[in-house]
Chain length 302, copies 2
């Protein structure tokens, strides 16, 4: 069993009330791979420029992440710069330099098409579709997206949504895509396009999942200090799919466990800047916090 | 066992994306009493003007609510007017006419001081303190407040917080009172003033409780249409305290059950305008939705 992730590798400059870090490791594929590799084998497809410090990815290699799909292209690496104020649920993007990412075309090295799970991180839905088409045999497929594609490439995005098992979005993105304030109505609209499940990210409030079995809700871990929310959603997806990939069966039970595990991993991610927490994360720490999550939602019958 | 609630009885004019209702029954004491009386005996202290249609409260009388503490004063009843847009977590107050509420002084009829539980709804903390002093023997005391008192009567509010077992606030109010964006730090600051527990209301995201046993989180019920959020917090408090009042013991287990029951009752409240849903609510409907709440947070060990 293994997962293919297609997304970005970036150099992020992030400012929060807890500090500022300049041109540190980031990108959706990196956060996802760092999280998923704690559970299963991961293959990564992305692009960096010739300026990228490749040694930064050694910790992924050490965890067995297959980086053959990482293209090094002439030019500068994708850069993103953002600020979070005290309301850490709101991202203020200060600057986006696509650089080599502007001409990115995913190429799947040998063996990549045979994965059991596919995660299409938040990239152009046309590219997502290209990759999806090359991995027809995956047992489980999931995609993320963002307001930029919802507004600019609605038709391509709608086609793409129809081609995956699970869609994940922030709640504001779901509301924008579905044109309703109701998450229930929005999730139904997405599921009518084909997906089995919709996983809605709610930042400091956790995540909810809608599928044919109904509704499941997971709180966020109560952190005294959220130092850097960057990568929360991608590491959530990494924990979620990483766990499911190595499950014998995908059932209501394992889907719920996966949501909690995604929340657990994301809660570590946001406690430190960049990939710092994910580098040091271990299965034992994850299991311990998973139990805490169960404890603080547990309520007995009346 | 019985509860004393001190708060407002109002005529509300409310506009939401689902409609507008003019001068309908409202007020913190009414929402609280309607909810709590589904669980235990309730005694109410409040004031209305001579213009108030007293027959509107017959449903409370039918549920055994003791209305001897409802003063009828010369003048007009308290009126509140507000609007909610699609973000139903944000209240836009359009008009507040205190009227007879401006000169309100709670008077406790015979037997009122012997209650086992006291709820001080969102009124002037000086009045809350007057009432608190007259009910020294209550097993459990809880108070609500709002930004108006946090900004205008901080000292009185702080003294009052030190005199109750449980404080409930909206998350924005807690952040304002404690001067921190962290709910953990904010709850700790409140508990350092004396209360055993802090219950933080998060609107469509549910509620969280901090006490010496740690942290407990309850989601909100996923409603497709929230027609009128007015009274959500007070009916939450009514379900919460109503259940606890008739529990033999207040334990971590019963506190958690009470949080879920409060959320259940509030979820009915916001599904209809004014008191409409609370009038028709039954213990059987509450038990059924309680079980749903347990179901959609249930997750197995890994």
């Amino acid at each position: 069993m293994s997962i293919l992730v297609v997304g970005s590798v970036a150099l992020d400059t992030v400012e929060t009330p807890f500090g500022k870090e300049t041109e540190v490791l980031g990108g959706s594929a990196v956060y996802f791979a760092a999280a998923a590799s704690l559970f299963t084998d991961v293959k990564l497809v992305a692009v960096v420029g010739t300026d990228f410090p490749l040694g930064e990815l050694d910790f992924l290699r050490d965890r067995g992440v297959d980086l053959r799909g990482l293209q090094v292209a002439e030019g500068r690496t994708f850069r993103w710069s953002g600020r979070y104020d005290y309301d850490l649920n709101v991202t203020h993007t200060l600057d986006t330099q696509l650089n080599v990412f502007a001409d990115f075309h995913p190429v799947l090295p040998e063996g990549y098409a045979d994965v059991s799970t596919l995660f299409l991180a938040n990239i152009d839905p046309t590219l997502q579709y290209e990759v999806r088409s090359q991995v027809p045999g995956a047992r489980l497929t999931m995609m993320d997206t963002m307001n930029f594609w919802i507004q600019g490439q609605r038709d391509e995005l709608t086609r793409m949504i129809g081609a995956v098992d699970i869609v994940t979005m922030n709640e504001s993105e779901l509301r924008m895509f579905a044109g309703t304030s109701s998450l229930i109505a929005g999730a139904r609209k997405v599921r009518e396009l084909g997906p089995q499940a919709v996983v809605i990210k709610q930042g400091e409030y956790g995540a909810v999942m809608f599928d044919r079995h109904g509704y499941f809700t997971a709180p966020a871990y109560p952190l005294e200090e959220v130092r850097d929310p960057t990568g929360a959603g991608d590491s959530f997806a990494g924990g979620f799919l990483g766990y499911l990939d190595q499950c014998g069966e995908i059932t209501p039970k394992t889907l719920r466990q996966a949501i909690i595990l995604g929340s657990v991993v994301a809660s570590f991610t946001v406690g430190e800047f960049s990939l710092r927490a994910l580098r040091d994360l271990t299965p034992a720490k994850i299991r311990e916090r998973y139990q805490e999550f169960r404890d603080f939602t547990l309520v007995e019958a009346i």
